[in-house]
């Protein structure tokens, strides 16, 4: 499965390795991965926790479409997207994207594409808990390409 929604904490390296075990050794020469983890600060405030909501069904469909788009743009061997939902603590991984390809250019570029595309297309919403115990919805993502 190239798309995983995880309600519990996950270890990016283990999931990458597990997926790689299903592939034939030597079929790829480049692996690019990105892991996004939860910060303990945002917009100048201390953040102590976060809840990630998603739209079951649509979220998976959009993530699969993002991978399909990457496959049509670059010559890649395989791809993996893992995304947390539920209650998250600072330092925990939120998202993992991995791309395997024959050469580095496709791996780097497609991995970046997966992240930027999922941030604008896959329905997830973050609700932060601040140090004073109050909650707030994150209203927009930070720009990826500057």
């Amino acid at each position: 499965m190239p798309v995983l929604i995880k309600p519990e904490s996950f270890d990016p390296a283990s999931l990458q390795k597990a997926h790689e075990a299903s592939m034939s050794a030597g079929d790829f020469g480049a692996t690019a991965s990105f892991t996004g983890t939860m910060r303990n600060f945002n917009e100048g405030d201390d953040v102590t926790g976060m809840m990630l909501e998603h739209y079951p069904g649509m979220t998976e469909k959009e993530l699969e479409a993002v991978i399909s788009d990457a496959r049509s743009k670059w010559d890649i061997q395989d791809a993996l997207i893992v995304h947390r939902v539920g209650d998250i603590s600072p330092g925990e991984p939120i998202v993992l994207t991995v791309v395997w390809s024959a050469h580095r250019a496709a791996a780097f570029d497609a991995c970046r594409f997966l992240m930027e595309a999922l941030k604008s297309r896959a329905p997830f919403w973050k609700k932060e808990t601040l140090k004073d115990g109050s909650h707030r919805w994150v209203e927009k993502n930070t720009p990826g390409y500057s």
Partner: protein, 76 residues
């Protein structure tokens, strides 16, 4: 036949007592579904989907559809 309606994240918290189903005979577009489901005006930047696909609010709906409304996406 009915159209199922879902609200997510901050929208779900802001809208009091939304209908979860509307009569398909009373609506033609996604905007119509919003007006049938709630008395709240549709906020700017609301995103919409029909049957799990992103759509504009002006697009048509049909009996049996699932229509969802949600704020800008903030995953990743």
């Amino acid at each position: 036949m009915t159209i199922r309606v879902k609200f997510f994240a901050s929208l779900r918290e802001q809208i009091t007592d939304p209908k979860t189903e509307v009569d398909g005979a009373l609506v033609k577009t996604i905007s119509d579904v919003w007006k049938q489901a709630t008395d709240h005006p549709m906020p700017p930047h609301v995103l919409c989907s029909v049957n799990l696909e992103h759509k504009d609010a002006t697009e048509p709906v049909n009996d049996g559809d699932e229509v969802a409304f949600f704020p800008p996406i903030t995953g990743g």
